[in-house]
């Protein structure tokens, strides 16, 4: 964000001071810093991960948006880019990674598979969208989305960050337990979501043999 965007339009700064002074709100400054340094988790699942890599290379240059610093550890990452088909076998690992990420954290579902199962939705080992488990901030359609589409989605994420207010964001509030903690699914005869135990039990009881 350049000075013009950072400054609030209602305050007039004399022209000879404009290079030195900006009048703005704390929220704007805070979000300006955060939106321009979103560090994604270095995490690829499937085909979409290749387009994610392509988006980082010279032609598309994700660094323009401050998103080129891929962190292999979730503890340094701000954004989980779910880039590909989420399988039942993989989803416990994804949830663990998400739980290890510090606040503020964002989830972007890249591609048809991560958004809703995509072409593989009917597969017995496929989770029909990561949003069955994680709160998704931005969905990016495509199979796979082109790097341009990915960048468009990430700009949407930046817009979302811009709208947040430091007074209301949950991560500075007093809390006894992590509100974003997601219980890790269990691999049983099929994938067991611990939050749905009662529901699964009752549905399995009425199921006809």
């Amino acid at each position: 964000m350049d000075n013009e965007q950072l400054s609030l339009p209602q305050y007039e700064v004399p022209e000879d001071l404009q290079h030195a002074i900006a009048v703005t709100t704390l929220d704007r400054l805070y979000n300006w810093g955060r939106r321009s340094s979103v560090w994604p988790l270095m995490f690829g699942l499937a085909c979409c991960a290749i387009e994610m890599i392509a988006a980082q290379t010279a032609r598309y240059d994700l660094a323009r948006f401050g998103m080129e610093v891929m962190r292999p550890t979730p503890r340094q990452a701000d954004m989980l880019l779910v880039s590909g088909t989420v399988t039942k076998k993989m989803v416990p690992a994804i949830i663990r990674l998400y739980n290890q990420m510090p606040e503020p954290k964002y989830v972007v579902a890249m591609g048809a598979c991560a958004s809703g199962g995509g072409p593989f939705k009917e597969g017995y080992n496929v989770v029909a969208g990561i949003d069955k488990f994680l709160p998704v901030d931005v969905y990016i359609p495509g199979c796979p989305p082109t790097p341009q589409a990915l960048i468009a989605g990430l700009i949407k994420l930046q817009e979302k960050i811009d709208k947040q207010s430091i007074k209301q964001v949950p991560w500075y509030r007093r809390k006894t337990k992590d509100p974003n903690y997601v219980p890790v699914p269990i691999l049983g005869p099929d994938l067991i979501d611990p939050r749905r135990n009662a529901e699964i039990k009752s549905a399995a009881a009425v199921k006809e043999g």
């Binding site: 085909c47 392509a54 010279a58 593989f120 796979p144 005869p189 067991i192 399995a204």
Partner: protein, 579 residues
């Protein structure tokens, strides 16, 4: 390619009277071996007939009465293959003797057949599930097994077509999700199997040495989230200091049920799914599947389309190998700069793919009998510019920049990968086999398409160390450019498909195995048709999956720092590996 072995030289029936029969079902080929004499016959096939490369092992379910295990064996000296099958009654436990002691390369494939079809291979030392997890209910590829979102056996589903209705698949499932639990299942009482069996399989490596010095061995999990495993691959290893003492690969984190979905789909509907196997090379993936179905349909391919197929396949190989070199250098610690060079060329090749097929990565370009769109003159000019004016110089540049590099030499030169004998035994194909000194390239050994018309050398290196595995990729890029040069000059005008465009193709009953030399190795499709619009059995024999069988053999004794590079040499793509 799977033409029945010539009865004059390869008459298994005469060699084993009463134990082997010729497969006489219409459209089928090869031999049916009695279950009890399988080991004896397989030993003769390997030692007397010289079929040393056991490429594909898979099962087929023929309810209600029998199951079949199909073996495809080839000679590394070239020529057509030998198919033999074992038929067993479909009563649990379905048991077939394991061939692991004759052909160690069948290890993971037999585990896959156990996992997905419930065929028990007696004598297999480590028969665990591989793509699904221990505790999963049922064997999904059996014809009577139904997934959570099951609707009908075959597509197009009657409820949607031709009326055009749609609804959410979740609405029809009792759990409102892609789930299927057994009757009266109580999730709270479930005790997860976890990795007990996996660590049990590793336990034999944890015995202490009796050499006086007592050292602890530790077990390390690498993956499924790890920056250097190229996807969701997991390796569990036992370490003795920095040396790897034992290793088990854990696969299936990207198992997208390709085979099961493929058997519900119509033949043509599978084409876009093959794109997503090895997502770097949708063109060569399409090629293999088109070959298999064309063989079943017994149709010719339009002349111009044959050339187009070669051109796009070789372009695909070039961009794959370039990216391989880039990511290899990432793994060696040269973070990202070589990758940027590689991706620069890759983007230019993808531009051509986008122009001719409409998509950068998932091209869905091949059709049975040809290709879907022609290459216009403007695009052909772009290909010419790229091949003649750019790619060879860029390859030289990469070569100049990297090959003499001191760090590269000290990390890779002389670091053992695998020798020729083991590589063949473990069914390794592709660049890793050729870098071990075996000049086996399906384009030359068993030519498909029109590869027999081109003049090119099979790239081969003889040391089998990491440096050779890197150099062979550069050699192959140069050979691909040679093929491209000839193909561009020879391509004729004409139609691009020998058939009329159709949504539904008629495929006579029978079986076919189509295989291509993908940039990773042998990519095979085993397709069985029963004359209906959908394949009865659709099996992909992926290069990465079979190559990784040898990972345990290669890694034991290596240093953990080298493991990342050893793994990188397989050029694994998990979409193809796990399917």
């Amino acid at each position: 390619m799977t033409a029945p072995a010539s009865p004059l030289t390869l008459d298994l029936v005469a060699r084993f009277p009463g134990l082997v029969q010729t497969d006489t079902r219409p459209g089928y080929s090869g031999f049916i071996v009695e279950k009890d004499s399988l080991l004896e016959v397989a030993a003769a096939v390997r030692d007397e007939l010289g079929f040393d490369l056991m490429t594909a092992v898979t099962g087929v379910d023929y309810p209600p009465d029998k199951m079949e295990v199909v073996y495809h064996a080839y000679r590394t000296t070239g020529g057509p293959g030998l198919v033999f099958k074992v038929q067993v009654p479909r009563v649990d436990p379905v048991e077939v003797p394991s061939l692991i002691h004759l052909y160690p390369g069948v290890d993971l494939q037999e585990r896959e057949a156990w996992d997905l079809l419930g065929i028990k291979f007696t004598g297999h030392p480590d028969l665990r599930r591989i793509l699904m997890w221990e505790g999963f209910e049922g064997h999904p590829l059996r014809k009577d097994w139904k997934e959570g979102f099951y609707e009908e056996d075959t597509k197009p589903f009657k409820s949607r077509w031709p009326q055009g209705q749609f609804y959410m698949a979740e609405d029809k499932n009792p759990f409102n999700d892609n789930l299927a639990f057994p009757q009266n299942f109580d999730p709270e009482k479930w005790i997860p199997e976890g990795d007990a069996l996996l660590y049990g399989a590793l336990a034999r490596y944890t015995v202490k040495q009796e050499d006086g010095l007592s050292t602890d061995r530790i077990v390390i999990n690498m993956g499924p989230h790890h920056p250097s495993t190229h996807g969701v691959f997991r390796a569990v290893m036992t370490l003795d200091g920095e040396t790897i003492a034992g290793l088990k690969p854990v696969l299936g984190y990207l198992h997208r049920n390709h085979d099961k979905i493929g058997e519900r789909n119509t033949f043509l509907l599978n084409m876009p799914f093959t794109d997503r196997l090895d997502y770097f090379n949708s063109m060569t993936n399409n090629f293999g599947y088109a070959l298999a179905v064309e063989k079943l349909m017994k149709i010719p391919v339009a002349e111009r389309a044959e050339y187009i197929r070669v051109i796009v396949s070789e372009l695909s190989r070039i961009q794959n190998h370039l990216v391989f070199i880039g990511t290899l250098l990432n793994d060696l610690g040269a973070m990202y700069t070589p990758s940027l060079y590689a991706f620069e060329e890759r983007e230019l090749i993808l531009d051509i793919f986008e122009a001719i097929s409409g998509a950068r990565m998932m091209c869905n370009y091949f059709r049975f009998g040809g290709v879907v769109r022609d290459i216009e003159d403007a695009e052909m000019q772009k290909i010419k510019d790229l091949v003649y004016d750019r790619l060879q110089y860029k390859t030289d540049e990469l070569d100049r920049m990297l090959t003499e590099n001191e760090v590269l030499l000290s990390r890779m030169k002389g670091v053992r990968m695998i020798n020729a004998e083991d590589a063949i035994a473990y069914s390794i194909t592709g660049p890793v086999l050729r870098a071990a000194g075996v000049p086996y390239d399906i384009r030359r050994a068993d030519p498909y398409g029109i590869y027999d018309r081109f003049d090119f050398d099979v790239a081969v290196r003889y040391n089998g160390d990491l440096m050779d595995n890197y150099l062979i990729r550069i050699d192959e890029i140069r050979q691909s450019l040679r093929i491209l040069d000839q193909a561009i000059k020879q391509i004729p005008q004409g139609p691009i498909n020998s058939q009329k465009p159709a949504y539904q193709v008629r495929v006579p009953a029978g079986e076919a195995y189509g295989r291509v030399e993908s940039p990773k190795g042998e990519l095979g499709y085993y397709v069985v048709s029963n004359g209906k619009p959908n394949p009865w059995r659709y099996h992909v024999r992926p290069a990465s999956f079979v190559n990784v069988t040898a990972l345990e053999k290669i890694s034991i004794g290596a240093k953990i720092a080298d493991f990342v590079v050893l793994l990188a040499m397989f050029d694994m793509v998990m979409g193809e590996c796990d399917r």
